[in-house]
Symmetry: C4
Subunit: 445 residues, 4 copies
Amino acid sequence: MLAVDSKIRQIWNLVICLLSVSSVLLIPLSLVYHIMPPAVALAFSLVLSAAYLADIGLEFNTSYRLVGKVVAGRLAVSRHYLRQGFLPDLIAAFPWYFVVLAGLVPPSSYFTLLALIPLIKLVKANRLLYSMAEEKVNPAILRLVLVVFWILIADHLISCAWIIISGNPDGLAPFDRYVRALYWATTTITTIGYGDITPDGTTQTLFVILIEFFGAAMYGLVIGNIAGLIANIDVAKTQYKEKLEKVNAFFKFKSIPLEVKRKIDDYYAYLWETRRGYNELAILEDLPSALKETVALSLNQDIIAKVPIFAAADPNLIRDIIVKLQPAVFTPGDYVMRAGEYGDEMYFISQGSVDVLSADEATKYNTLAAGSFFGEMALLLSTTRTATVRANEYCDLYVLDKATFEAVAGRYPGFQGSIKKMAEERRLAIEAAKRRQEIEAAKKK
Amino acid sequence: MLAVDSKIRQIWNLVICLLSVSSVLLIPLSLVYHIMPPAVALAFSLVLSAAYLADIGLEFNTSYRLVGKVVAGRLAVSRHYLRQGFLPDLIAAFPWYFVVLAGLVPPSSYFTLLALIPLIKLVKANRLLYSMAEEKVNPAILRLVLVVFWILIADHLISCAWIIISGNPDGLAPFDRYVRALYWATTTITTIGYGDITPDGTTQTLFVILIEFFGAAMYGLVIGNIAGLIANIDVAKTQYKEKLEKVNAFFKFKSIPLEVKRKIDDYYAYLWETRRGYNELAILEDLPSALKETVALSLNQDIIAKVPIFAAADPNLIRDIIVKLQPAVFTPGDYVMRAGEYGDEMYFISQGSVDVLSADEATKYNTLAAGSFFGEMALLLSTTRTATVRANEYCDLYVLDKATFEAVAGRYPGFQGSIKKMAEERRLAIEAAKRRQEIEAAKKK
Amino acid sequence: MLAVDSKIRQIWNLVICLLSVSSVLLIPLSLVYHIMPPAVALAFSLVLSAAYLADIGLEFNTSYRLVGKVVAGRLAVSRHYLRQGFLPDLIAAFPWYFVVLAGLVPPSSYFTLLALIPLIKLVKANRLLYSMAEEKVNPAILRLVLVVFWILIADHLISCAWIIISGNPDGLAPFDRYVRALYWATTTITTIGYGDITPDGTTQTLFVILIEFFGAAMYGLVIGNIAGLIANIDVAKTQYKEKLEKVNAFFKFKSIPLEVKRKIDDYYAYLWETRRGYNELAILEDLPSALKETVALSLNQDIIAKVPIFAAADPNLIRDIIVKLQPAVFTPGDYVMRAGEYGDEMYFISQGSVDVLSADEATKYNTLAAGSFFGEMALLLSTTRTATVRANEYCDLYVLDKATFEAVAGRYPGFQGSIKKMAEERRLAIEAAKRRQEIEAAKKK
Amino acid sequence: MLAVDSKIRQIWNLVICLLSVSSVLLIPLSLVYHIMPPAVALAFSLVLSAAYLADIGLEFNTSYRLVGKVVAGRLAVSRHYLRQGFLPDLIAAFPWYFVVLAGLVPPSSYFTLLALIPLIKLVKANRLLYSMAEEKVNPAILRLVLVVFWILIADHLISCAWIIISGNPDGLAPFDRYVRALYWATTTITTIGYGDITPDGTTQTLFVILIEFFGAAMYGLVIGNIAGLIANIDVAKTQYKEKLEKVNAFFKFKSIPLEVKRKIDDYYAYLWETRRGYNELAILEDLPSALKETVALSLNQDIIAKVPIFAAADPNLIRDIIVKLQPAVFTPGDYVMRAGEYGDEMYFISQGSVDVLSADEATKYNTLAAGSFFGEMALLLSTTRTATVRANEYCDLYVLDKATFEAVAGRYPGFQGSIKKMAEERRLAIEAAKRRQEIEAAKKK
């Protein structure tokens, strides 16, 4: 049983598409002008029928998709194909053109139109092209491309019909006559209507009326597709700009200072550039719990790898903690914490860097970059912050609050100990820095 | 009193529509060319008036809808019809065409245009068609179809008017002349404008200016309808693709590993295929409580039928529990639970299958399919999971957590007992499997 | 100071609009053909200037709106008008046409075009029309109407310019010549392009190129407006149908029974018909608290009026209770409560009716309609329901739960007493009905 | 290293755009008509090449943006430019036109078309224009402008090609011939199609067919852009009107009194005018915590400045309190509180004014404006309101409830004291006013 999306099946689909397109190009022209020598035409007719028969055989051996699952049972596949697609495939596979060429119907009669029956395979070609491209292409663009493709084919068919209906009044050579008919058909379909070629007699006029309606509808379809496509292109950006406009309208009404407005604008621009305006929390909340865990582990693997206290931790603990980290964005200059403030959250830096400052912001103790963490003392001791931390640039931090930490860490005593040890070391380093600073300041005096 | 949506009324509506369309086709042509023999024309005129009178009578005996209720009181129906629809119906029912045919107005005068008055019934036909199709058809498609229908009728009327205004300069036969006029009208309305037929004299020119504005507006309306239709077709899919794009943009910014990205893409594809991206919880929360209960019972009837512990349970208990089950999706390979983990949830399998594995995942104890349940021990004993459970494919599970279970089961002591018994049996089975496995392993050595 | 939306100001605005439109019609035609006798033209010119001057005077005495407030201070009004609108008004008020008519510029020179300067007043007319119609009309329709209005004016101006540029080659009478030019302009703007009138010489050709671009842009604008309009018309209904489709897709995937699906479809149809799919709770939550109270009081005034226990209650209590009522919809056949169930909610019927039934649903005790209430015993006694209540039709109920009731009623002892009394009476009535039923049943035996 | 958005780089970009546009105008015309004297043409060619070479040099010295950061390292810049943009820049910089002018290729052969190669620089010009305008212009408008710009350029190129293909059958002067060709191209692209100039012979016909397809596509693109633009313009307002319609539909179904409906309409109009329908709470909740704090401080700086109790407060306290204030809107006539009611909230007036009234609303004690506060007693004493407060106009208040206040103030004892003092003073003032009123009332009697 051939898989529905196997390479071979895809290539065969392309072959069928090419054959049906070439048949729609060649058969009508042959009926009008016999552009193919009889032998070539006969061969073409037989190759076509053979390929279409092979297609039927292959369809009976190709699995199909149903609500996310591939169905491959022979019985199910046969029933599925018989119910949809088999009949038109069978009709198209009959060598109609051969019948006409072999003279089995009176030549130059309406029966020669039987040769056009295999063109119904185009409908399948359209479906195959659609399903092959669907995954990769924006559906609006795909629809537009297929509409244009069908218009070109219709243009060709209309030209051939026009040659039959209007004859060759200027006695042109076949190719010139075809180009002339194509010119007329195109001029009409695009609603340009030069008017240098106009219908003569009631039959031609009726035909032209039909083509005019068809052409106008086709052109309308193209414009409609373009308009629909364009209307949808900007949706995300338009919505975003609109939100920004609303926010700005509100802040203008509230006469907020310009520098705050600018800060907000910058923040939204950052949000757009890095995550197209989407909130990280919203993305994660949309996922089912097990997937959320996988993503959270991936997102924070840098932290897990770099943060020493996680190095030796139980994988179950890491999983438990990581899912509960809350993302938080800080814009440049924002205070993550202020010395003297009461705080009960620890921070992990995912992206960006922060400055660790003294309470008066005169001294910079340290700069922490992605993979670092700070504020861990808050998880252990109920005390105020010993330093001020300010974002240097746009920072994506993850926050772990005391209540969550205690609930998880309670089950892993070893972890609690290592955090305590780290906190002590950090505190000593800051105090050492403070003293060093004081000594230097004293020296300068 | 006839029901507004009864079969008979629907058929009668179709009759009225057909009559009004045939009148708009025949009367103008008759005025121009007398295409109907006098006797036929007279008969047609009288049949039309009779049918329109019958329509008035029927309207007085047809109920109407008002905010979800059918109003059938004779007085209310009469008042409703008299207030809207009666007057134009009455005017259209007068035998205007008969008056013209009978020579009661001077022939070839502007008074013959009185015969066109019954065409106002078309407005009603339009309304009837709309209300009959509204339920079944996308409103945008319906509007497009009606616009095209009106354009065809306008095309016909413009042609007749053009014949009257421009006469028959080439001395064509009536049908040929009509086709010629239709050709001109169509060429103009579709904005093709060949220019082989152009106005002569100021009256014709003024008429053409009018038609050009009308035609351009009509064509614009068609294009606008197509564009609006197409813009709305893709909304659901476009929004979905856009959400996916946003998610991917974010994960690209966060440089998430490819296999996780793939997992997320697959999950969203599954969500789209099975529920068009809609969250089950969101669907149920939208429904009023009683309906939610009905739906939850229907959705879980398989579980209720297959799960032995529900077999003998009180229907009130089933109702109480079922409404509180939380849906959860697991993607292939996701861990539903891990041996050794602490857990307080029980799972019911609605769709898909899971593997029950040993802690090291080396041994597969069992595979559970739709209708099975597992993790029931967590509801009874505060212990860690004894086995690892991993999703084989996309699984729709329902989760019952301990707190909910205890609140409900507390009121039904018998239920609690049967769950306990089942849990015990299951535990014994797993232990037996473990021992068997160990013995086999020992044998192999 | 005249109010900006006073009747007089509105009428004056209309006068200004009419004058500017008549000037755009008459002045260009006069320049081309002198359609007005000199005296009339002079008078028209002076009336126009006088009216425009009066308009300037009035503007200095008309208040204006700024973010929801009307500003009427003389200084503020003057400054506002001087900053925007005064200059073009002043320029338009100068008697330019008079200058041309009086021969102050060489006739037949380009200086006669100075007479067209007052046409800039049209921009103001456009703004006035927009602001007058804005409140009442859909903005998309309004924009479309104004675009068409401007196209008609442009059509007229292009015709006049075409007469000047192309002269009168066929020696037509003025009116015929104008119609001919209008015909050409219309044919071009609507992109029909018959081609019976084409430019001659490079100047005309350049003019035509310009008009072609302008016409195509205008026509594109019309189509774009129609498309935008139509795309937005269906948004509400399309979103609703789409939601329904998603719900149905999901329930199809879950193979829910047909009768449940039908129930859901009906429910959504009801929701659309009665509240366009909008949730009552969502509507109220959007309103600020004081307004919510006002609305809740209005919505439930029937209940308040009909329910005896509210008759003598403290208005503060009514306010307190009413804001806390939760709306709930029941579809026909839904059980609001079941006899024997534990319940802690009381229900008020806002719309629809319910049946009060015995536990086996064999006996109907009562039918309660809008304004009734039931389940009040649940608020007082911790007991199971004594009767089953089933919705007869779509019902809008309001729910009052025990916790809310106790919090509020605790502060109003009198209220608690009256509820208790009502509950006792109701219980006795039901028991009496039960006994009567039993006696009747016994009799029948 | 030049910054990507430095003034100099921007000016240079404009120079490159102007040069490439002038080259697309001049080179094709020169090939057709030699409109430039040889010396000028040679100079132009060399200037162009020199400028394009300089552009390459500059690109190697201009930083570029990557996800919100400017990359300025020489190596990174070089690699970035070499990977994208360098090759076409290099090809365009080669003096192709010079090669043609210098006679290095046979004149009048297809090789002269080599002179058109530098036109590929237009693609870069397009990108530069886009990136320069992107920030300031609505993306839909920008796209429309660029589409029109490209259509004009295409129109010019098509005209030149048409001259080459169709020659000069009428023996016109070069400029007249060019205008004639431009006229034909414009007539075709805008789908007007007069038909006075039509192709002759198969080559011309084939060219025309191509141009017709291209023109129709271009025109469709313009219309599509306009439609997309217009569809998105009204989105915000349409959504808002739609919401209002839904609300009104619901209230109509519920037959709410007209004055309440009016109140709601007015409220929504106010919401639209002052904040485009956006909820203040929603705006703040979207911002990250640090930014929210900054905004809240800005929004309430008036209150902080005017409210005496904040004057001497600890900045940490102000930050703590301010973030927790809840916005609340009151419409004119709404009761903020009622005398005798139990209340536990304090209010700060951000915008608008309120009346402080006696319980019977007969006496007005005071009118409080923006920056005032009231209800502060509720935070300290568990008592009922001593006065009724009614909104005079639309008021934006901020609410501080007792629980929040106590949590924060508990940490700042000084603050609690000052509030208590203010409350006492206010209470005495109200009582004094009451007594005065009573005395006056007594006097009047």
